[in-house]
């Protein structure tokens, strides 16, 4: 069940896709009046888009724009949300939009990672592919991150491949570039962010 804010019901007769949504919405008991809200929040819920900026996802400076100066080489990863450069909408309606942003030694990056990076800045989904945790322990000596929930470990130099632990899938990478002197999104997530169903 989504908890998006309420809004007016669509006035025009809905298309086929909306009919299904409507029917399923009735099935799980959603008030009809709330369906419009899901559309209003689509920009907030959309995955990162090219040219999106990055803003801090948490902490006292939550929502502040991330600049190149916030990403010193060797510094710990920041957790960010994407922000639409034109409308200013922060895409924080889904925790799956959380992004790990860090600057590594460009010479240490493997070829695929290097192709998606700018000046050593790399970005990945901040949601563990094992069971969806989003807290990370930074291990600067190896440029790896470890999930404290179940100890899956990912190599940020090498497409966030799994080094240890129960995760079986790497963290989806997010291409980055620099525009207007800021780190920005250069393309969509490579892979689906979020936990694995574990079969079944």
């Amino acid at each position: 069940m989504r908890d998006s804010p309420g809004g007016p019901a669509p006035v025009a007769w809905p298309g086929r896709r909306t009919v299904l949504t409507l029917a399923l919405g009735v099935g799980v008991g959603l008030p009809l009046a709330r369906l419009g809200g899901a559309q209003d929040s689509s920009a907030r819920g959309a995955r990162p888009q090219p040219n999106d900026r990055f803003v801090l996802a948490a902490g006292e400076r939550k929502g502040r724009l991330i600049t190149l100066a916030d990403l010193p080489s060797g510094g710990a990863p920041l957790t960010a949300y994407p922000k639409d450069a034109t409308s200013g909408v922060v895409r924080d309606d889904s925790r799956l939009n959380q992004i790990l942003l860090v600057r590594l030694d460009p010479r240490a990056l493997d070829r695929d990672t290097s192709a998606r990076a700018v000046d050593g800045i790399v970005a990945y989904s901040a949601v563990c592919t094992h069971t969806g945790c989003d807290a990370w322990d930074w291990q600067p000596a190896s440029s790896t991150v470890k999930c404290p929930c179940h100890f899956s470990e990912f190599d940020l130099k090498a497409s966030a491949r799994v080094l240890n632990g129960p995760a079986s899938r790497r963290l989806p990478a997010l291409p980055v570039k620099v525009a207007d002197g800021l780190p920005v999104v250069a393309g969509a997530f490579i892979g689906r962010p979020g936990f694995e169903s574990g079969g079944g």
Binding site: A23, C149, G198, G200
Partner: protein, 573 residues
């Protein structure tokens, strides 16, 4: 009716029936689970989480004995298709078995043949965080099956078809609330407790009408302003103080009380939530009709060690100083074996003694049972503090068992492990980890000279003394089944074995290597006069987490394969 309207109605009906219900077929006749049957379960059935309301994990069946257990062999198995921790018991009602799996499946099988009757799959939200990817089983009542879900729903299914009868959204998973426990059904109510202590929730137990899923009562495990016990918290800490409930209560129908174990206060270090923090790390007695707290005992105050005391005390009557005590017996995560008295007017302390090496408590008050602490062993902000047993304690969630024939309590214990924590305060954010520690500095170690970790212990309830111990080289995460045939069954070790022991002597008698490590609760049942023993094998969650910690400090890399399988054993002819 126009085609367009038909399409809308059709889709709505499909949604109501549940696209998640797969391979449904009717079971035919089904014996309704009445209140009377729950109060007096037949020996051939396993109708609830621990087999009876007293929480014994005991089957009176006696065909399988120490004399013939070597002939025990698998008769069927069923792959769930799911990884992670398969902890639910096979619950059996007159030949129909129900299991749950991680990722929120409920599966009905023919208990004799293993044939699939139906499978329910809940579609989980894509943004769900699963700190504990597991489910601990169903509850039965009338012709319904109840499951509490990891995205905070309580769902009633038709026992014959798996169709959804009702689906109640109990809480918002985005704020860190989720369920892992098997519900308790008593007096027409379905009761659940919430997980999420590591995410800064405010814990509670809630009851719902078994017929329609409507809320009946809700009792917070942290008292609010104006409620007794609220004074044991300071400032706003009570709002995010944890005290989760993740195991099924036991129930005394004479007293009409349900007994729930509660988790630690959040975040972990005690100096971040000064006070005793009622009712954290406690047992609380809730009136089954109203949810009113009619008694409690706090095992330890101002928890600082992540010692949840969520395991529910077993209802065991024992003699103490010549007097028969209607007891509550709890082998605690804090490493002490607690014996309490359950009464209409509350819970009274009887005695407590350590069952593993415990270096934190300096004494136990002989009247109140309140422990005193070595302050150097109490984690706090800005200091590295080492304590034994470690944060997984002397026994975690894995249920102990009680056999009325031997009068022994069986404890799956872990000895010799210690933890080091460094307290570091952090902000609370809904749905985020709220541990209050410097995580990378958290380490595990074992006591110098330690020769083993896992133990299976037997304690004589007549004397209050330990009578035998079986040691395992590595950790033991095996829930206990004990039987009228004089056996104790458990898995729990990283070598994938399922084992049987002589309940009287502790002699190991039988073992079988399954597909994965076993942290599932075993059960026993009979169909057509044949006794079966059943268990799910499927390693994960905290057993896996502890393995990762062990590998880190031992320099090993242990590969315990994952994937859930139901195993059912019987004697070979």
């Amino acid at each position: 009716m126009s085609l367009r309207t038909l399409a809308i109605v059709g889709a709505a009906v499909l949604a109501l029936l549940g696209p998640a219900m797969l391979a449904a077929q009717s079971v035919g006749s089904y014996n309704a689970v009445t209140e009377q049957r729950l109060l007096n379960p037949e020996p051939q059935n396993w109708l609830m989480y621990r087999g009876n309301y007293s929480g014994w994990g005991y089957s009176p069946l006696d065909r399988i004995t120490p004399g013939n257990v070597k002939k025990l062999a698998p008769v069927w198995s069923f792959s769930t298709g799911v990884t992670e921790g398969h902890q639910a018991p096979p619950i059996v009602n007159d030949g129909v078995m129900f299991i749950t799996t991680p990722q929120q499946q409920v599966i009905a099988l023919k208990a004799k043949s293993g044939d699939l009757i139906w499978r329910y799959k809940k579609e989980l939200p894509e943004d769900l965080l699963q700190l504990h990817p597991t489910n601990r089983g169903v509850a039965l009542w009338e012709d319904r099956v109840y499951v509490a879900t990891v995205d905070a729903h309580l769902i009633a299914l038709d026992a014959k078809t798996g169709a959804v009868v009702w689906d109640t959204t109990v809480d918002n998973y985005k704020n860190g609330y989720y369920f892992t426990l098997a519900p308790l059904v008593a007096k027409g109510k379905v009761m659940v407790g919430t997980s999420g202590g590591e995410l800064g929730i405010r814990g509670y137990v809630a009851a719902f009408d078994a017929r329609d899923g409507k809320p009946v009562w809700k009792t917070h495990t942290i008292p609010g302003p104006g409620e007794p016990g609220h004074e044991s918290w300071q400032g706003e800490a009570w709002k995010t103080g944890g005290v989760s409930v993740w195991l099924t209560a036991h129930y005394d129908p004479q007293l009409n009380l349900t007994f729930w174990g509660t988790g630690n206060a959040a975040p972990w270090p005690g100096d971040m939530h000064p006070g005793d923090n009622l009712y954290s790390s406690s047992v609380i007695a809730l009136d089954a009709d109203t949810g009113r707290i009619r008694g409690h005992h706090q095992y330890h105050w101002n928890d600082s060690w992540d010692w949840d005391e969520v395991s529910t005390p077993l209802l065991i009557d024992f003699k103490k100083d010549g007097r028969l005590v209607k007891g509550l017996v709890h082998p605690g995560r804090n490493g002490y074996l607690w014996r309490l008295e359950r009464r209409a007017d509350g819970i009274r302390f009887v005695d407590a003694k350590p069952f593993v090496t415990q270096e934190v408590f300096t004494k136990i008050d002989p009247v109140s049972g309140r422990p005193s602490y070595d302050p150097e062993r109490k984690p706090r902000s800005g200091a590295a503090v080492t304590f034994c047993p470690g944060l997984w304690g002397g026994k975690d969630w894995t249920p102990a068992g009680y056999n009325p024939k031997t009068n022994y309590l069986y404890i799956p214990a872990n000895e010799n492990l210690c933890s080091t924590l460094v307290g570091q305060a952090g902000p609370y954010e809904p749905g985020k980890l709220f541990l209050g520690i410097d995580r990378p500095k958290t380490t595990m170690s074992w006591r110098q000279g330690a020769s083993h970790i896992g133990e299976l212990q037997a304690w004589d309830m007549a004397t209050g003394q330990r009578v035998w111990t079986h040691k395992f080289p590595y950790q033991n995460w095996g829930p206990i089944l004990t039987t009228g045939g004089g056996l104790v069954f458990l898995g729990g070790t990283n070598d994938r074995n399922f084992r049987a022991f002589d309940a009287k002597t502790g002699t190991p008698l039988w073992e079988y290597k399954t597909n994965s490590g076993i942290t599932g609760v075993p059960s026993s049942f009979a169909v057509d006069g044949v006794q079966y023993v059943a268990v799910q094998s499927g390693w994960g969650v905290d057993a896996q987490r502890m393995q990762a910690r062990l590998d880190t400090f031992l320099g090993t890399k242990t590969d315990v394969p994952q994937g859930g399988v139901v195993w059912v054993f019987a004697l070979r002819d």
